[in-house]
Symmetry: C2
Subunit: 344 residues, 2 copies
DNA sequence: TTGTAAGCGTTATCAT
DNA sequence: ATGATAACGCTTACAA
């Protein structure tokens, strides 16, 4: 193996000092064109790559963007990640991903590790960090974006949506379509799911149709299989339920399969609304209504805000509400209707 | 903000030298118990966290595990990641995730960035790295695991399965169940999908039932929607097709939905086999046959091999074949059968 | 068992 | 425009 090439090796080859090479790499405009060209050539020829550790130690900065998400398997976060990776492409930034596993303590631990590296920026999920985590973030000496949710009192910046409002809107949609005994299926019960439940409960109470027995929740992670199970549970507790707001699209798909198995007609006998509008919702049979959240855009915007702040630009709106949209499809067409405005 | 606490600050507080504190952190058994306790206490009290950059620079090592995967949105890789994160939990290792986007060049670039950090270990996807990437990996001075596939000529270690054999097995399964005009649906067409196609083609040719028109592929990423589209394409090209081997479970689910829409009976008129056995396959209606790959286990094993090597243990089997299993469900029960051995 | 001294490869500071 | 020198915070010899 070829020995490691250092700054001084390049400098020697060119016949200049190490600082000059360093300058060519970081602030080329400060170096005369003649020298700059010779250095650039030598760097390429020798295959020099700066040592990130030495750089970090000397400059007290890194090109690392720390991202903390609660799950690596959840579809929802992969979409956000895609937005992040898309936007970072080509920039001199490296992403370091931390998996908090929905644990506030693990988040705290990772934040300790991350902030020690003097990252260029940090992205964390949600607004429910522990007091210690929030303190770490405030001291972090780098821009911070909280994603997925919005709220008052941002640590620094926020991009997300109001899950409570989204829960309200989904419930109203089912109600407006004529369903009355609307159930709620929730998995994991992380803070965002809980806020959607709040929204659901508010609407149901306002309408005087709220009933505890219509709510089935679990701390287990959301899966299609779980959707089947939770619907079974709901049906046994409330056989007269006529629709359900599923807090994740996987649950909704599971509910659909279970309905097919039980020969329950969707949407005539039973309405379904999911959450997040995963790609498959549109092509299910019948197609499934969901609440579209702009997750990829969320990742993109978070990075953009981070970049702008690193560049010293002032952020006019530190809290960005990306909103949501009810994507009404056949599964929530309304009870016992005959017409079919949607083709699928 | 409190000033950054360094090793010397802790040393001063305790009344020992910096090396001693450093030893307590890395090799506590070399320090007398009395001193060790006082140091540990001071570390906790002052909230000292070592600077990873300084540590890396001084020791020429890091606690970073570099993981390179082709996609952050693909379910298949999230399962592997889960295995990795599960196994790493509690260990003094940090995971750095790189997204190659199925690009050999991006893989090369990331490998350059990663290897410069002197990682504790590296995990890369597949066996089709570029010559330069392979050279980088061989020089990497750290253990390397190639995952997802196996083959001869490992760079260092491998954990995976033979996708060609899996493709053969899936095709044979459909044939053994009585289907004859078996189609092939493939998305993305990455190296692993291509090898599954090879396996499919071999079996079909051996049986003398191979036909080009039965194969529909695209470079687009695998989605449920794409499954619907590819089936439509296949049906228009070969209306007499009686089964399909889908190279991803998303495609298979899309195919199922499209069959439901077209009122094609599965499995009587049409057999379906997916790949990967995602959780939802078991609860679809009808339940969907798939090829189970042990993706979570794959991640776990990769980490274990890495850890063992870091600990200096010799690896007896550097190439681990995790195999696969045909999980036969209703969707491939066979054409025009009447009995139903499976409940769903 | 503990401490001293010399780097690790880069950047910041201050000269020239 | 370029260079000399001192950090940056830690670890690795080697010494005591």
């Amino acid at each position: 193996m070829d020995k490691k090439i250092r700054l001084v090796d390049v400098a020697e080859a060119v016949g200049v000092s190490a600082v000059t090479v360093s300058r060519v790499l970081r602030k080329p405009e400060l170096v005369s064109e003649a020298v700059r060209l010779r250095v650039t050539e030598a760097v390429a020829r020798l295959g020099y790559v700066p040592d990130p550790a030495a750089r970090a130690l000397a400059s007290a900065r890194t090109d690392v963007l720390g991202i903390l998400i609660p799950s690596v398997t959840n579809n929802v976060f992969s979409a956000v990640l895609r937005g992040i990776y898309d936007r970072v492409e080509g920039l001199p930034l490296n992403i370091q991903l931390g998996n908090t596993r929905y644990s506030v303590l693990e988040e705290e631990r990772l934040l300790g590790v991350f902030t020690r590296q003097r990252p260029a920026g940090l992205i964390v999920t949600g607004v429910d960090q522990s007091a210690r985590s929030k303190a770490l973030l405030r001291q972090a000496a780098c821009p911070v974006v909280q994603i997925m949710e919005i709220g008052d009192d941002p640590i620094d910046m926020m991009v997300g949506l109001s899950h409570r409002d989204a829960g309200r809107a989904a419930t109203r949609h089912l109600r407006d379509r004529g369903y009355r005994r609307i159930g709620f299926l929730g998995a994991r019960m992380d803070p965002r799911t809980q806020r959607r439940l709040e929204g659901y409960a508010e609407v149901m109470k306002d309408d005087g149709i709220f009933e505890e027995r219509l709510i089935v929740t679990t701390r287990r992670a959301s899966t299609v299989t779980l959707g089947c199970e939770l619907l079974s549970e709901l049906l046994s507790r409330a056989p007269d339920v006529d629709a359900v707001f599923c807090n994740n699209d996987d649950l909704a798909v599971g509910v659909l399969f279970e309905c097919q198995r039980r020969r329950i007609s969707v949407p005539e006998d039973f309405g379904i609304c999911g959450f997040n509008d995963l790609e498959m919702m549109a092509v299910a049979h019948p197609s499934l209504t969901s609440v579209r959240t702009n997750r990829t855009e969320m990742g993109r915007r978070a990075i953009e805000m981070l970049i702008a702040r690193v560049a010293g630009e002032p952020i006019d709106t530190p809290v960005v509400d990306l909103g949501f949209e009810i994507v009404a499809r056949r599964s929530s067409l309304g009870p016992s209707r005959r017409e079919a405005p949607f083709s699928t």
